[in-house]
Amino acid sequence: MTKYIIRRIVYMFITLFLIATATFFLMKALPGSPISSASKLPPSQLAVVEAKYGLDQPIPVQYAKYMLNLAKGDLGNSFQFKNASVTELIMNRLGVSVLIGSQGLILGVALGILLGMIAALRQNTIWDYGSTLIAIIGISIPSFVFATLLQYWLAVEWSIFPVGLWKDGWMSSILPSIALAMGPLATASRFIRTEMIEVLSSDYITLAKSKGANGFEIAFKHAFRNALIPLITVLGPLAAGLLTGSLVIEQIFAIPGIGEQFVKAIMSNDFSIIMGTTLFFSVFLIVIIFVVDVLYGIIDPRIRLSGGSK
């Protein structure tokens, strides 16, 4: 197990290095620079600014410098937010995004599991059809449509929640979380339903019945854990979906999250923030995928995580 984890961590660093390299050169290939919007400056002053930020140097040199700093843990300074360090900027914004993201994921997956279980246990009844309908709606309607509908009904018409911004603490996080939860909810309910139906018809469920177990014990003690594996598999991509989802949702609700800042940075060619946020997202995803792999082994003892011996 330790061997396995060490190997995975080494792979993580290699992945990160590749992502950083690719993003760096892609970014440089884009037209424009952080100071191109300030192009009204006379060329002499432009040159001074470029020299100050090292933008006048050849790209390979810039790349080497960036990577060296990165190795030291320095993500550089922002071009637009008064020279604040990127690490600081990300950390300031992180809390909000993590809050709505994790609330959305937990809410979506929990409700999805519940819906899927009900659908599987009451197969081909009104409960099943209802759950299917919700899942289809959740998959086919994009989250920003939900976001606007939620804003209109729950905030504007009934004034239960704030329309946007981050001024009412936790209350402000509710609508964006619900909007984000719809996707995971739909996916989770479909996966759990299909898998539960499959598991419920397997031999060990018949054996559990023959022991005298009741419906509840069969569903939760015997079937549920076996039905979780496929869901765990999509949990990684789902979490990734939440990140991209949050870019849009944070814009709609005008929430000062990391996604909103990322969009702004791309608009203004703020190289260091784009790099920093991309790397941050990557680390996040890689860690989630790793956690998913470990979860497999915990849920299903047949999937063993082991080190070298291949």
Binding site: S202, D203, Y204, A213, H222, P301, R302
Partner: protein, 354 residues
């Protein structure tokens, strides 16, 4: 002998898209305390369905009891509520399944799976249940039972898993143990071990066993009595000796003839011609008539009743009717019958009854 289970006129149908499948069409048998009753027959003859209906393990929405009853301890199992049935399953009646590779929960340690019925049906603490589960594992011949309690099914071989399934079935000393082809998925050496184990355990806890199989060699090894099923009905029932050495129904003749034997010089193994009847629209008379060399006109028109051969031996074939012509069974069967004192072909000195 004390009667423990009585199945009377049992009829059961499945509702499918194609229509009503009459899987069991009037099954009657009694099970006595401490005996082993084997139910034999080909695939689709209704043997598994019969036992699953005793346990009420068939899908509730698609299966339906049409007639008859299953009496156990004075209670009709076909009429019990789900809750009442849950109290009987695993406690009074338990079951061993065909495929040990799939019948254990892969994500639950085996100890927990054995403890489950103990905790469920008997008012004992977890530590007592744990101790009993270890004892059960030892009873079914699992080495180092204590250490293996925490292991998962994939860490055991097929034979070991079947031992675990047996341990689960025995957890509450059931009065009836239903074994649904428990050795079919195992190789022959393991098969013999499991059969030995079941015989030993039966002596120890004096349970009655219903043993479903299509392997007649296994039947000869374990059973006291045999019921032969065909097309959703029992066509012949009797003691092992009666069925093996004095069979009366043409289907039983076919079954016995298709059993490989070292005694005959015959190179080709006999196979019963044709296919089992379609139970969506069951045949009018004797379901086996169309595949039988011995079918008479009446076999196609009327279902034969049970004719008594001896106090323990009954067969549903018109051949036993007093007006039926005398026919000789296949040569191999006649050979068998010559060895049995009760048969009309008996050539020994002790004197037959015919």
């Amino acid at each position: 002998m004390e009667k423990i289970l009585e199945v009377k006129d049992l009829e059961l149908s499945f509702h499918t898209f194609a229509g009503e499948v009459k899987a069991i069409r009037g099954v009657n048998f009694d099970l006595f305390k401490g005996e082993t009753l084997a139910i034999v027959g080909e695939s689709g003859s209704g043997k598994s369905v019969t036992t699953k209906s005793i346990m009420r393990l068939l899908p509730e929405h698609s299966s339906e009891f049409k007639n008859g009853h299953i009496l156990f301890n004075g209670k009709d199992l076909t009429k019990l509520t789900d809750k009442e049935m849950q109290k009987i399953r695993g406690k009074d009646i338990s079951m061993i399944f065909q495929d040990p590779m799939t019948s254990l929960n892969p994500t639950m340690p085996i100890g927990k799976q054995i403890m489950e019925p103990i905790l469920k049906h008997r008012n004992v603490s977890k530590s007592v249940a744990h101790k009993e589960a270890v004892d059960l594992l030892r009873l079914v011949g699992m080495p180092k039972p204590e250490a293996r309690m925490k292991q998962y099914p994939h860490q055991f071989s097929g034979g070991q898993r079947q031992r675990i399934v047996i341990a689960i079935a025995l957890a509450c000393n059931p009065q009836i143990l239903i074994a649904d082809e428990p050795t079919t998925a195992l190789d022959v050496t393991i098969q013999a071990q499991i059969l030995e184990l079941m015989k030993d355990l039966q002596k120890k806890i004096n349970t009655s066993i219903i043993f479903i199989t299509h392997d007649l060699g296994v039947v000869a090894n374990v059973a006291d009595r045999v019921a032969v099923m065909y097309g959703g009905k029992i066509v012949e029932i009797g003691t092992v000796d009666e069925i093996f050495y004095n069979p009366q129904h043409p289907y039983t003749w076919g079954l016995l003839s298709s059993m490989p034997s070292l005694d005959t010089a015959e190179e080709k193994l006999y196979a019963i011609p044709g296919t089992p009847p379609d139970l969506l629209s069951p045949p009018k008379g004797d379901a086996f008539a169309l595949r039988s060399d011995y079918a008479m006109k009446i076999d196609l028109e009327e279902i034969p009743p049970f004719f008594k051969v001896s106090d323990t031996h009954y067969a549903a074939t018109w051949l036993l009717h007093p007006d039926a012509p005398q026919v000789d069974p296949p040569a191999a069967i006649m050979e068998r019958m010559k060895k049995y004192p009760g048969s009309r072909y008996y050539d020994g000195t002790e004197g037959g009854t015919y």
